[in-house]
């Protein structure tokens, strides 16, 4: 049995296989630390949260925090710009989010009443009356009119409005009823009216004056709204639409469309003019009790004096996203503490103590070098190439016990690397170990020159 020295730890000649033990350990004086700011230090009285940079390293030392006591619960609003229009709208929900809602007005509604000429192809011959819906709008397009002869028993003209099925049925007495008789019967109906009278003396016949249920058409709205989660467009008809009508439409918004309400009603009878149209204009002045804005490197947090709690402040920090997501709560404060002014007002307080990671020292063992390659991940690069890896042992030496364990992750013979990950039980994720002096990352590999 030969035991050979090599530039690895030891090369061992097994039966049919050249096996090499490569073991060692590495220390790291310190991982990169996150810059932090104890909010109570700048003089804040009840503000006991400690914040930290989201990313470890010295760059976090440039972060600054300002707190401003101008938070409040305010709905965004807009005094509609039209010269004739004095309605004031407000966001349905309070907060700064309302400032993203825009309102526009367009003078393009036509306000046509749906109608139907009873004679023509496929309709009657003698009944040349034109009927219309009672009001403008597309609702009239849903109505139909049917004309039928009666049973011939001297019944005259009878009309029936079916509001459920939206059908007007006209029944006439064959060879007796005239157009004038029909028009007389139509007077006073709820939904359908006469738009243009026909030839009153014409007597209706059985064969030619029938009309199957036929839809009214051409009805359009005089004013209507188009709504998205952040836009409201008022379509109106100049010289026809009143302030009351538009406000009624806005008040009737419901569900997901209910993004704005009437804050202050205008002069209801005033009619919108062509010059009252306006381009998309945002609501303004919406405010929250606590919110944050970020303009590198300054994070400004607005809070409400005597209202905002430490817990609410920390929730705002936790909700940061996108480019503003640069700080986290390092240590939570007393959630019920209420921030006051000026006691808890902070002016551009600097984060500090962010440090770069110390270099990893592979000072024990030979034949391999360990580098930190990601959060909680280390990669061991072997000096020599091996065909296979038989044992990939790893372990942490910790002076202070923690919920962390080191294990192998991935082996690449061609790249001569094996990566290790530090699993943190309590954090339920990989994490950099908090290495103190003397703590070490150990590895024990048995490598094969031949592939299995």
């Amino acid at each position: 049995m030969a035991i050979l020295q090599s530039d690895g730890v030891a090369e061992v000649q097994g039966y049919g296989y050249g096996l090499t033990v490569c073991s060692g350990s590495a220390s790291q004086a310190d991982v990169a630390r996150k810059a932090f700011l104890d909010c109570s230090v700048p003089g804040a009285a009840t503000f006991d949260t400690v914040l930290e940079a989201k990313t470890a390293g010295t760059a976090g030392n440039s972060l600054r925090l300002t707190t401003v006591a101008d938070g409040a619960t305010v709905k965004a609003y807009l005094d509609l710009p039209g010269a004739s229009i004095n309605t004031v709208l407000e966001a349905h929900t309070a907060g700064r989010a309302g400032n993203s809602i825009t309102v526009a007005a367009v003078n393009d509604a036509t306000g046509v009443v749906a109608s139907l000429a009873c004679n023509g192809t496929g309709k009657t011959t003698g009944l040349n009356t034109v009927l219309e819906y009672a009001t403008f709008g597309t609702a009239g397009n849903a109505w139909k009119v049917a004309v039928e002869p009666g049973s011939g028993g001297g019944e005259g003209v009878n009309v029936f409005e079916d509001a459920v099925n939206k059908v007007l049925t006209i029944m006439y007495e064959t060879a007796v009823s005239t157009v004038a008789n029909v028009e007389a019967a139509l007077a006073g109906l709820t939904y359908i009216a006469i738009k243009t009278t026909g030839t009153g003396a014409t007597v209706l016949a059985a064969a030619t004056d029938r009309m199957p249920a036929t839809s009214l058409a051409g009805g359009t709205e005089q004013q209507y709204l188009v709504v998205t989660p952040t836009t409201l467009v008022i379509h109106y008809k100049a010289t026809a639409t009143t302030i009351t009508q538009v406000e009624a439409l806005i008040t009737a918004l419901a569900g997901g469309d209910d993004i704005v309400d009437v804050k202050t009603g205008g002069t209801g009878a005033t009619i919108w003019a062509s010059g009252d149209a306006f381009a998309a204009t945002p609501l303004a002045s919406g405010n929250d009790p606590c919110w944050a804005s970020y303009s590198a490197p300054l994070m400004t947090v607005h809070y409400a004096d005597g209202v905002t709690t430490v817990g609410a402040f920390e929730a705002v920090i936790a909700a940061l996203s996108g480019v503003s997501d640069v700080i986290d709560v390092k240590t939570t404060g007393t959630p019920a503490n209420v921030l006051g002014a000026p006691a808890d007002t902070i002016a551009a307080a600097a984060f500090a103590s962010g440090t770069a990671a110390a270099a990893i020292s592979t000072d024990q063992g030979v034949g391999a070098t360990l580098t930190h390659t990601g959060t909680g991940e280390y990669t061991l690069t072997l000096k020599d190439k091996f065909a296979d890896l038989i044992v990939d042992g790893a372990g942490l030496n910790l002076g202070s016990l923690s919920d962390q364990k080191l294990a192998a992750k991935a082996w690449s013979g061609s790249a001569k690397t094996i990566s290790f990950a530090v699993w943190d039980w309590s954090g339920a994720a990989v994490a950099d170990p908090v290495l103190d002096s003397g703590d070490r990352l150990n590895w024990f590999l048995v490598l094969s020159n031949a592939s299995y």
Partner: protein, 248 residues
């Protein structure tokens, strides 16, 4: 002892302790495919969920040390733990556990593997087993001992030579090696338990000049914890110490 059966036969002075190494790929709810095995002198089967039984080809008197390792392509809350060792059937159990100590399977994946190193004492009794020379500058020490609740381990529970273990605090034991070192290059402990529990062994302070290493039995849910005595509750370890300050 038929040393010719050992694929990796690093021997001590008495030439009676063999090292077995190997690894196998996890395969979900199925047994590892034998084609995935790397190493010789053993086979492995999935006995039940998260429980693998390694069966050695040769008989042995006892297992001086058995240390399993888990490799996972995607790190999750898992670790491996040595279970029951039955010399009569030449078997050693390996459990795959989650953070609560519940057995779990691992899917088949390129980097999902369990490896192990075992120091097996052969039938011929020998006085100095367990200390191996790696080249002429390093010693590999492998052994195990039985924790004894709040008392120090009994001398009779020490398997392998070159060390003694004393309890120094809750869950903590100090290994006193029979040699000091220029550098204690690697120290990896492992906890064997008779039943699945969310505990493992973690290395602590090392002193090459004093020839000592600390190992603590750690409960994921409770921190450092003493382990009561049982034949299948043992702390295993491997340590590599360099004897001189310069490489060859």
């Amino acid at each position: 002892m038929d040393r010719n059966a050992f694929p990796f036969n690093l021997v001590d002075q008495s030439k009676e302790v063999g090292l077995f190494v190997g690894n196998f790929a996890t395969n979900g709810t199925s047994s590892p495919a034998s084609a995935s095995n790397k190493g010789k002198g053993w086979t492995v089967a999935r006995t039940s969920q998260g429980l693998f039984t390694v069966t050695f080809a040769n008989k042995f008197l006892r297992v001086n040390a058995f240390i399993p390792f888990l490799r996972l392509a995607t790190p999750v809350a898992r670790f491996v733990q040595t279970g029951l060792i039955v010399t009569a059937s030449k078997t050693v159990q390996i459990r795959l556990l989650d953070a609560s100590g519940a057995v779990q399977d691992a899917a088949a994946a390129t980097n999902n593997r369990i490896s192990f190193i075992a120091a097996l004492k052969g039938p011929d009794n020998c006085p100095l087993q367990g200390v191996f020379h790696l080249g002429h500058k390093r010693l590999l020490v492998m052994g195990s001992f039985g924790p004894n609740s709040t008392s120090s381990p009994l001398a009779a529970s020490h398997y392998g030579n070159g060390f003694t273990a004393v309890r120094t605090g809750t869950g903590a034991h100090r290994l006193d090696f029979s040699s000091t070192f220029n550098t204690l290059e690697c120290f990896i402990p492992s906890l064997q338990l008779d039943s699945a529990t969310d505990r493992y062994a973690v290395g602590g302070a090392l002193s090459a000049s004093a020839g000592t290493a600390v190992v603590t039995t750690y409960d994921i849910s409770a921190g450092a914890t003493d382990v009561t005595a049982d034949a299948n509750r043992r702390i295993h370890f491997l340590a590599i110490g360099r004897l001189t300050g310069t490489e060859a």
